[in-house]
Symmetry: C2
Subunit: 306 residues, 2 copies
């Protein structure tokens, strides 16, 4: 339908940020790791269980002040199916605490296969007469390189089940310009992709003016953020690259509209590893995560017009 | 290092094809489905187990004449973590029969996260002092929209562990042209992406002249196949769209080089559902798959110069 559910949560918490849960096992404090490694040795199973305990504690300490989490599928897949199981458990746990969950999978394929991805991550799989949510996230990141028929199956599920997608437009990495900054009839590829997002979302615009089709635009490219905010008035931005990837709050200003809406900024490692940076007792890792989340919220709110 | 391992298998079997294992539960014959649904009701678990039995029987009936399988991650993710477990089991089972396995995941992300995907699907995850293969495929399909630093982590694993990647260049779907056919300084996006593949693979070229970086080019666009074969002399093509998506063998001619190498053609549904098309006893589904695989091999070989 639109991103209204997420935007309402952003307004309620006065916090336009999302915590990325991209847990490498090295991020987990020793006192948790050791417990599981002693139980099941150095296995994917032990690592997965340790990561779930880590994720849960972080969620418990931020759910009242942060609107959303963004699990990054790659880090769960690194642990095989056991890791993927923990991704599902993390999604459900965060939702049980009232959080909005966007799975960062950057999925993409042709129509029939994209239907399978859309079903997997946002919809219900039919088995006999049963309709079962496989992962049941609220939103999914996707890659639009394949064009409209790789996106259409997602739009259908977004409408039916009130979900959303974020399409890669201008990514935060150094070499994103190799293709994305190239010009097609004078327009950069990222803007062509952005225009497609506006078109894809045009029939699912909510009460805040944003559709169910958002865009990923990196904090590391403040000029393009500002340019795209003007160009894509109905497209909500998911903004990675704040903190660990080097982007600061000042550069984020252009991502927001005149009402202080229009973007949600991600931070992953800076939150998960806040206890390492703080140098506090590792048993206070989730408390450190909460302190970092508050610092980030205040930092970003300080540059937004409200 | 290169795609030599795969090319050797293609030569040994005289068969430039790969069977896509993209199993919807509807493709599985009733006699298998019923067995598992009776045991565990209409659950994701029962569906996953039924699909594994289905996959195994197909592999058992084709491994001596087909060089490779290509499990499509989306269809396994539809069944949640239990489906992803079956994907892993399918990969290992096919490898135990000597097959080359390319996971079709079209993964993509920025450098650090792409390292996690590369590790998950092609490499080893380190847990304490243990190095554990999470999925352990031989190759992975990826999307290059993010540019070089989204590909670099894969190149490292390709070199170290003798693996390969296929980058989306010109996809087989109808709307692939929306972005891919747009021109950058007179060159279509798909050719720009193709040129990047040549560059990425330039230091990992094997004895047949092909690097570890392949390209996905759809059978549904025979002109571009021919054009790209000439343009990208070191890039092995993975060609979807034969059969179920409408491409025929005649249009595939241009995908192959003067030695009859340079491409591997995928067929998924036409093989998995051959028993439905044939109208044979459903208990002979794997026999029907073998007959279709032979028909396809002979059809494609008939248009290749050797």
């Amino acid at each position: 339908m639109s991103f209204d559910r997420l935007i309402k949560k952003i307004i309620d918490t006065n916090n336009p940020t999302v915590v990325g849960l991209d847990p490498l096992i090295d991020y987990v404090p020793d006192f948790i790791k050791n417990k599981y490694f002693m139980k099941s040795d150095f296995t994917l199973e032990a690592a997965s269980e340790a990561i779930f305990e880590f994720n849960k504690a972080i969620i418990d300490n931020i759910y009242d002040i942060v609107p959303a989490i963004k699990p990054q599928a790659a880090y769960y897949e690194m642990l095989g199916w056991r890791g993927v199981m923990v991704m599902e458990k993390t999604i459900r746990y965060a939702q049980s605490k009232g959080m909005f969950v966007m799975t960062d999978g950057k999925r993409n394929d042709i129509g029939a296969t994209m239907t399978a991805y859309a079903t997997a991550h946002l919809g219900c799989t039919q088995i006999g007469g049963n309709m079962i949510e496989a992962f049941g996230a609220d939103a999914l990141t996707v890659n639009g390189y394949l064009g409209t028929d790789g996106i259409a199956p997602l739009l259908e599920i977004c409408e039916k089940k009130d979900k959303g997608i974020f399409v890669l437009v201008k990514t935060s990495n150094k070499s994103s310009g190799e293709l994305q900054d190239q010009k097609i009839d004078g327009t950069p590829v990222y803007a062509v992709m952005g225009d497609m997002c506006e078109k894809w979302g045009s029939e699912q615009i909510g009460e805040y003016g944003y559709s169910s089709v958002g865009a990923v635009v990196g904090a590391t490219y403040p000029e393009q953020l500002t340019e795209l905010r003007k160009r894509l008035p109905h497209t909500l931005f998911l903004v990675p690259g704040y903190g660990a990837q080097g982007g600061g709050a000042e550069g984020l200003k252009g991502a927001f509209d005149k009402n202080g809406l229009g973007a949600i900024v991600n931070s992953s490692r800076a939150v998960m590893c806040a206890y390492k940076k703080e140098g506090c007792d590792e048993k206070d890792f989730a408390g450190a995560a909460r302190r970092e989340v508050i610092r980030m919220r205040d930092d970003i709110n300080s540059v937004i017009n409200k």
